[in-house]
């Protein structure tokens, strides 16, 4: 085992642990995780406090255990066939917990991965709404933003792809029935919507980041409690899993610096 001390903990480790917390307490659900920190978080949760979590190979299968990042396909142990068409059965059944990325996210939790600028002729066409509209009204969804700035945390997203709290409420009970935006995790901190009017609240800052840093990088008014704790560090077991098992080549440190 690698000899690790608190000083070895990187920003990327805090992000991975914060992503792992997304999956705490959900039992037997399918974890889908986009981005390096979310991919590590799901695996870390599976190997520690969420042993019933169901992971995918990112292609068309559910896999046993928690394969390291970049594990060769031949090393994977398949549990079940999960082609795209069947993924929708899982999405619509609600037995899924997802961390998506967001090009833009706003105060009430709307996410945009579709386009920047006016719809008819956008300044930048992105990948498209993908499954974000359906995911957010069918099962728990969280977001990962590795580049927290006033360009990504905006007052109002340009195209509502993932549905936030205000938009779900306006759409009615069929939209709110299974809707939950659990966490937003960025390279600076962790956020949720546990406020009376369901707007974004700062939950914790990653060590080395100040509340002022977060405020300066955010394009809208955050709810900030009187005391903002630090994001919890990985346990010794978690740190060893990250270093020795899940990400021995340090891919997470390439996604998030510091």
């Amino acid at each position: 085992m690698t000899d690790t001390t608190a000083t070895d903990i990187t920003r990327a480790d805090y992000c991975a642990v914060a992503c792992a917390e997304v999956f705490r307490g959900d039992g037997e659900v399918m974890a889908s995780a986009f981005g390096t920190a979310p991919a590590l978080g799901a695996r870390l949760a599976r190997l520690t406090f969420a042993p019933d979590l169901v992971l995918t190979d990112g292609d068309a299968a559910l896999v046993d255990g928690a394969p390291p990042l970049g594990a060769p396909p031949a090393s994977l142990v398949f549990e079940s066939h999960m082609p795209y068409r069947r993924v929708f059965d899982v999405v619509w059944s609600g037995r899924r917990n997802l961390i998506m990325m967001a090009s833009q996210i706003d105060r009430t939790g709307n996410q945009n991965i579709s386009a920047i600028g006016p719809w008819g002729q956008p300044k930048a066409q992105l990948v498209g709404v993908r499954g974000a509209p359906g995911n957010t009204v069918n099962h728990t969804t969280s977001y990962w933003v590795p580049n927290h700035s006033t360009r990504s945390f905006v007052e109002q997203v340009d195209v509502v792809s993932g549905v936030g709290y205000a938009r779900a409420a306006a759409a009615g009970p069929s939209a709110t029935k299974f809707h939950e935006i659990r966490f937003v995790i960025s390279n600076l901190g962790v956020f949720d919507f546990a406020t009376p009017d369901r707007v974004m609240r700062l939950v914790s800052v990653h060590p080395g980041v100040s509340v002022d840093d977060v405020v300066a990088a955010t394009g809208f008014e955050l709810v900030i409690p009187d005391v903002v704790p630090d994001t919890r560090p990985p346990t010794a077991e978690e740190l060893a899993l990250l270093r020795d098992v899940l990400d021995p080549r340090g891919m997470a440190d390439r996604e998030v610096k510091a």
Binding site: Y84, W92, S114, G131, V160, V163, S174, A175
Partner: protein, 303 residues
């Protein structure tokens, strides 16, 4: 059994400008690219393209064939977005119907079941409902009173998919891990085409893979076309993976009008056999360039 074997030329001849065409596969995976290339060589125009979008959508946009795209995303997988599709959207050249990818699935399913719509929660509250003002909701006639999105049937004039193996009668076999939504594209279409890596005798299909791989029945196909390498440069596992080097070349060329003109002349202004030969040559050139760069780096290290 009818012999449904046909050619890319006959496929294109059966289409006309203004049609709505569904293209199977997903992103940069098992796309019927030989069929797309045949459309690129034709004088067809003003098409509505319905696709889990990949380079099929990008190439058709680049050639000015597309009036409207219906999609949930357009991606090259290992490269997040397609440059030509981006350019077409950003110049306002095409109309876009962007929907949730589950709504897209239900649109194909509704069309293949011959019902006008299917209800879903997906789409509620999102801008999918505002950027597509024709979308409607429907109230449950039962006690729950739920109000859901009524995803309209995505009826297609024609559809084309690409599979690993097929027989002459139009049964198709997908040997890779994911059949995607190919069956539904065919089910939603009036004219139904399937290109394949290889046509084999019906009694040889079982030797290629288990019964679950024989997932396209001849009830769903009108024409079958043998096109070896017909999904290139997208992935067609287990026959071949994505040609990442060529995909990078495609993206790089898209960034510069002169480079794109040269790419078109070399790879797209030729017939399918010419395309296959040119891409093999290009792969050799990339390998040679890589070897030369490696040798240069080694001699620099030695100096």
């Amino acid at each position: 059994m009818a012999d449904k074997r046909t050619t890319l030329d006959e496929f294109v001849a059966s289409l006309s400008s203004g049609m709505t065409i569904g293209i199977g596969g997903w992103g940069s995976r098992r796309k019927p690219m030989a069929a797309v290339r045949a459309i690129l060589r034709s004088d067809l125009t003003d098409l509505t393209v319905v696709s889990y979008g990949g380079p099929d959508v990008g190439l058709l946009c680049a050639a000015g064939k597309v009036a409207k795209a219906v999609y949930g995303f357009v991606t090259l997988d290992s490269i997040p977005t397609d440059p030509h599709f981006k350019a077409a959207r950003q110049s306002g050249a095409i109309e876009a119907m962007e929907v949730d990818e589950g709504m897209f699935y239900l649109g194909l399913l509704a069309a293949s079941q011959r019902v006008p719509f299917l209800p879903t929660r997906s789409g509620l509250g999102s801008d999918v409902m505002t950027v597509n003002p024709s979308l409607r909701t429907v109230r449950s006639p039962y006690g729950d009173g739920e109000e859901l999105v009524a995803m309209p049937a995505l009826r297609l004039d024609a559809a084309v998919i690409h599979v690993n193996r097929a027989d002459a009668a139009g049964s198709g076999q997908i040997l890779g891990p994911d059949p995607f939504f190919d069956e539904l594209f065919l089910g939603a279409a009036d004219r139904r085409f399937m290109t394949t890596e290889r046509i084999v005798a019906t009694d040889e299909l079982a030797a290629e893979g288990p019964i679950q791989t024989m997932c396209i029945s001849r009830l769903l196909t009108d024409g079958v076309i043998e096109t070896p390498g017909g999904a290139h440069f997208t992935a067609c596992v287990p026959d071949y993976g994505r040609d990442e080097g060529f995909q990078k070349e495609y993206v790089a060329a898209a960034g510069d009008p002169d480079a794109w003109a040269a790419f078109v002349e070399r790879f797209l202004a030729v017939d399918e056999a010419g395309y296959q030969a040119a891409t093999l040559e290009a792969a050799d050139e990339r390998a040679a360039a890589k070897a030369a760069a490696k040798a240069a780096a080694a001699s620099k290290e030695g100096a």
